[in-house]
C-alpha cells in the first residue's frame, strides 16, 4: 500500500529522541516483569514450602521403606510417589527461594506439572487398589471421573500444542525461504 522507501520506518524511528534515564527505568521494569520478583513474605513462603517438601519426602520415603512386607504394593508405590513429589517440590522451592524470583519459563511449568502429575498417579493407584466389590466399583468410578476429565484436558492441550508446532514449522520454512530469497535477489515482495 505504501509508495515510501522500505527503510523509511527505521529512519523515522531513529529520529526519535529518548532520555537514557527513562529508557533504563523501562528496561529494568521489563526485566522485572519477565522475571517475577518475589516480596520478602512470598520468598519465605517458597522457603517454607521447600522445608515442607523435604519433610514430606522424608516422611513418605521412610513410610514406603519401613512398611511391613504384607502392605499392598499400590500403597507403598503411593508413598514413594509422595516422597518423589516432596523431593521435586523441595528442589523447586529452594531454587526459587535462593533466586528470590519466579522464572516464568521453568518454575511455573514445573510446579504445574508436579501438581498435575501427583494426583494422576495417586488416583490411578487408588483405582488399582480398589477391592473387588461394590465399594471398589464406586472407588473406580470416582477415580475415572477425575482421570477422564484430566485426560480430556491433556488431549486438548496436546492437540493445540501440536497444531501450534505444525504452524511454527511452516513459518520456520517460510522464514528460511524469505531469507534465501533476500540473499539471492534482494527483498521479497512487500505487503
Amino acid at each position: 500500500m505504501n509508495s515510501i522507501p522500505n527503510d523509511f520506518r527505521e529512519r523515522l524511528i531513529r529520529c526519535e529522541s529518548m532520555t537514557p534515564a527513562y529508557r533504563q527505568k523501562y528496561e529494568e521494569e521489563m526485566r522485572a516483569m519477565l522475571e517475577k520478583k518475589l516480596t520478602g513474605v512470598r520468598r519465605w513462603v517458597w522457603g517454607l514450602s521447600a522445608v515442607m517438601g523435604v519433610a514430606f519426602a522424608v516422611l513418605f520415603g521412610t513410610v514406603a521403606i519401613v512398611l511391613p512386607a504384607e502392605f499392598p504394593w499400590e500403597g507403598r508405590l503411593g508413598f514413594a510417589a509422595g516422597a518423589l513429589f516432596g523431593i521435586g517440590w523441595a528442589v523447586l522451592g529452594i531454587r526459587v527461594f535462593r533466586r528470590g524470583s519466579i522464572d516464568l519459563k521453568f518454575d511455573t511449568g514445573a510446579a504445574a506439572g508436579m501438581a498435575w502429575g501427583l494426583p494422576v498417579v495417586l488416583v490411578t493407584l487408588f483405582m488399582v487398589s480398589a477391592p473387588e466389590d461394590i465399594i471398589g466399583l464406586r472407588m473406580i468410578l470416582c477415580g475415572l471421573v477425575f482421570l477422564v476429565m484430566g485426560a480430556a484436558f491433556l488431549i486438548r492441550h496436546v492437540i493445540e500444542l501440536s497444531e501450534l508446532k505444525t504452524r511454527e514449522k511452516l513459518l520456520e520454512i517460510e522464514y528460511r525461504l524469505a531469507e534465501l530469497a533476500e540473499r539471492i535477489g534482494g527483498p521479497t515482495s512487500e505487503k
Partner: protein, 185 residues
C-alpha cells in the same frame, strides 16, 4: 512492511509466545518496542508517560498473547493494545483529548494513494508530525510505520476505511505543507 522476513519472524515469535515461550516474548519486545514507542510517543505528551504506556502495553500483551489465534494479526493487535492503553492513560490523566474525540473530515476515498508527495525525508516528516492534529498525526504515523494495511489501520483506529483514507489525505497534505515550509524557512 520493512520486509516479509520481519513479518514472518514476528509471526513465528507470536506463535512461540502462545506456547508460553518467554524467550520469544523477550525477542518480540526487542523487535517491536521501537516502533510501538514511536507510535505511543506521537499520542502522549510526556516522554516518561510514553515509556509507562509502552510498559503497560507489554504487560497486556504478555497476559493476552495466548488469545491471539492468528499470528498474522499481531501488528494490528499490538497497535490496538497500545492505542487502548494510551486511551486509558489519557482518561486517567485527563491531560489531553483522546484521538477519537476529534471530528472527521468528509471521506475522500480516492486520495490515499495520491502519488508524488515527496515525503521521503524522515527527519522532516518526524518534525512535521508534531505539528499535525492528533488524528492526522496518528493515522500518518501508522502509515509511515509500514506495518498495517489501510483496512488494518481502520481496525486499529476503530473507524471506517473511508475515514482512514480521508484522514491520510489531509494528513499528508498538511505534512507536505509543513515539510515544504520548513524547506523554505
Amino acid at each position: 512492511m520493512g520486509g516479509s522476513k520481519d513479518t514472518i519472524y514476528a509471526q513465528l515469535l507470536a506463535l512461540r509466545c502462545r506456547q508460553g515461550n518467554v524467550d520469544a516474548f523477550e525477542q518480540l519486545v526487542r523487535l517491536w518496542e521501537a516502533r510501538l514507542f514511536y507510535y505511543i510517543r506521537r499520542l502522549v505528551d510526556q516522554e516518561a508517560d510514553a515509556w509507562d504506556v509502552l510498559q503497560k502495553t507489554w504487560i497486556k500483551a504478555l497476559r493476552g498473547i495466548r488469545s491471539l489465534k492468528d499470528p498474522k494479526a499481531l501488528p494490528c493487535w499490538l497497535y490496538t493494545l497500545a492505542r487502548r492503553t494510551v486511551i486509558d492513560h489519557s482518561r486517567r490523566a485527563s491531560d489531553r483529548p483522546l484521538p477519537e474525540d476529534f471530528a472527521d473530515e468528509s471521506a475522500d476515498p480516492s486520495s490515499a494513494d495520491e502519488p508524488g508527495l515527496a515525503l521521503d525525508n524522515a527527519e522532516a516528516v518526524h518534525r512535521a508530525l508534531a505539528g499535525l492534529s492528533p488524528p492526522h498525526r496518528e493515522v500518518l504515523t501508522l502509515f509511515f510505520l509500514q506495518d498495517l494495511t489501510l483496512e488494518e489501520i481502520a481496525a486499529v483506529l476503530d473507524v471506517p476505511v473511508g475515514t482512514v483514507k480521508s484522514r491520510l489525505h489531509y494528513a499528508r497534505r498538511a505534512a507536505r505543507a509543513a515539510v515544504h515550509e520548513e524547506g523554505h524557512s
